[in-house]
């Protein structure tokens, strides 16, 4: 092997090759890091979508179970308890050979039973999926408002703005359940005397707002039971592709607002979530 001294051009080639090598190596590492981070991002989006889908399915299943329970209780109230009470009322009417004082007592009891039958029928209706979907959201809410006002627990009013239209069976049912949850929360926790329900229909958007004049609360300071009611509202809204916002502060009552973007909801319904609970 000849020991030839390297000329300048050979050395330049060596230096150039070494530089190219390190540039290439660095370039490869940077490319890998960028590609990996891109893949991580894609994976995260995919995972989040899967989690959201799972959560949605889980919520739907839970609501479906809840609706089945409601339907069962509603049927039982209507077919069993109401029948028994009607029978008792009839029996009371058939009692004879009593003096005036006893007759007065019997009539009082008959009135009380009649009241219980009416209340139970109303309750049965408000639990019944079929009744709510047949009546439509506005009628069902009006019935609920009348029931509340009749009970004297709270003074409720309803305001409907815009031209009403049907929102789909599932959406209307879920919105009605949200309203019931909001009313329940107001009665149980807020000490409110007045409840304002607003339904706003516009061509692209539907808004349901429930305002009470109760003690209010700091949204972050809720205990488990109150908090879970509000979380239920948010979860239910998610199931129909709506957004629920709850605003409250001490002394200023509470406002629950559910916004249903109808354009978005149409896409949502046409997708993987059929507009039907059971």
């Amino acid at each position: 092997m000849g020991n030839v001294a390297p000329n300048a051009s050979e050395l330049y080639v060596v230096i150039f090759s070494t530089t190219v090598f390190f540039v290439f190596l660095t370039g490869f590492i940077i490319y890998f890091i960028l590609l990996y981070q891109k893949r991580q991002g894609e994976n995260k989006i995919e995972r989040d979508a899967m989690q959201a889908n799972f959560r949605q399915e889980f919520l739907k299943a839970r609501l479906e179970m809840q609706e089945q329970t409601f339907a069962h209780v509603s049927r039982e109230l209507h077919d069993n308890v109401n029948q028994v009470l009607s029978f008792v009322k009839l029996n009371l009417a058939m009692i004879s050979n009593v003096d005036d004082e006893q007759r007065l007592k019997i009539n009082e009891n008959r009135d009380l039973i009649a009241q219980a039958i009416t209340d139970l029928r109303d309750l049965s209706k408000s639990l019944s999926f079929d009744y709510i979907t047949k009546q439509g959201l506005v009628k069902a809410i009006e019935t609920e408002v009348n029931k509340l006002n009749k009970s004297g627990i709270i003074n409720a009013s309803i305001l409907v703005e815009g031209d009403t239209y049907r929102l789909g069976e599932q959406s209307e049912l879920v919105l009605f359940r949200i309203l019931q949850e909001a009313i329940n929360n107001a009665i149980k926790h807020s000490g409110a005397s007045h409840l304002k329900i607003n339904l706003h229909y516009s061509p692209e958007m539907f808004n349901l707002t429930v305002d009470d004049d109760g003690v209010g609360f700091l949204p972050n300071s809720l205990d488990h039971s109150t908090g879970s009611g509000l979380i239920n509202i948010e979860n239910r809204a998610t199931v129909i592709g709506a957004a629920a916002t709850i605003n409250s502060s001490p002394g200023n009552g509470c406002s629950v607002k559910v916004t249903l973007n109808l354009l978005q909801q149409r896409i949502y319904i046409d997708g993987n979530h059929p507009d039907r609970v059971s």
Partner: protein, 220 residues
């Protein structure tokens, strides 16, 4: 610079990495456990090389044996890190092939008293392939954890850097010797690359966590 001092620094780095490896041994994934054993063996081999060199003035026989053992350990590390069945089989086959190549090399090309450059260069090429395969696997199944917090990333990038740079160093060394140039800078360069290599291995051993890696690989 005093070569004995450099050697002591080198052995100290190896010793520290070995201690780190065995202190965290139970927490390490299988691949990194193999790596910890490899570092211990490297420390022993480098010590033997030094003593052997002092006694016989040529430590190349140790280098020949160590080249094959080191290749086997590295291959075994990648055997545990890579998940593809065919790749795993190929890794096992390559260990046998490397052993045969070493025998052929000693018999026909580089005697026991000569530097085992053929085996080392072949090993480095295979390490680059291993490293690229692991990068591919990482891209196919990206973990949630930040890339810079992954022991696998640091280990693999370290191997890629080491294998390619040492390959380049060998090539340049051969050119320098052929042209009677001063090869001392290249020797220092190789030393620095070795230092970086073992320090980064130590860091990756400190970062490795069996649970995280098990979660990553179970997706694959």
């Amino acid at each position: 610079m005093n070569m004995d001092l450099i050697y002591i620094v080198y052995l100290t780095i190896l010793l520290l990495v070995t201690i780190a490896g065995f202190m965290r041994y139970k927490k390490l994934s299988k691949g990194f456990k193999t790596l910890a054993v490899l570092i211990l063996c490297t420390l022993i081999s480098e010590s033997i090389k030094k003593v052997y060199g002092k006694i016989y003035h040529n430590n190349m026989p140790v280098a020949h044996i160590w080249a094959v053992i080191e290749y086997a350990f590295f291959s075994l590390t990648y055997f545990y890190l890579l998940t593809n069945r065919w790749v795993k089989k190929a890794i096992i086959a390559s260990i046998v092939a490397m052993f045969i190549l070493e025998v052929v090399n000693v018999l026909f090309f580089e005697k026991l008293t000569q530097f085992p450059s053929l085996i080392l260069e072949a090993s480095h090429i295979v390490y680059v392939v291993y490293s690229l395969l692991l990068f591919r696997q990482m891209l196919l199944v990206p973990a949630e954890q930040s890339l810079f917090k992954q022991s696998l990333f640091w280990f693999n990038i370290n191997v890629l850097f080491y294998a390619t740079t040492m390959f380049l160093d060998f090539a340049l060394l051969s050119y320098f010797i052929q042209n009677k140039l001063d090869a001392l800078p290249l020797a220092y360069f190789a030393l620095v690359v070795n230092f970086i290599f073992y320090i980064v291995i130590g860091i990756s051993i400190l970062m490795d966590n069996k649970k995280e890696n098990v979660a990553e690989f179970s997706n694959g």
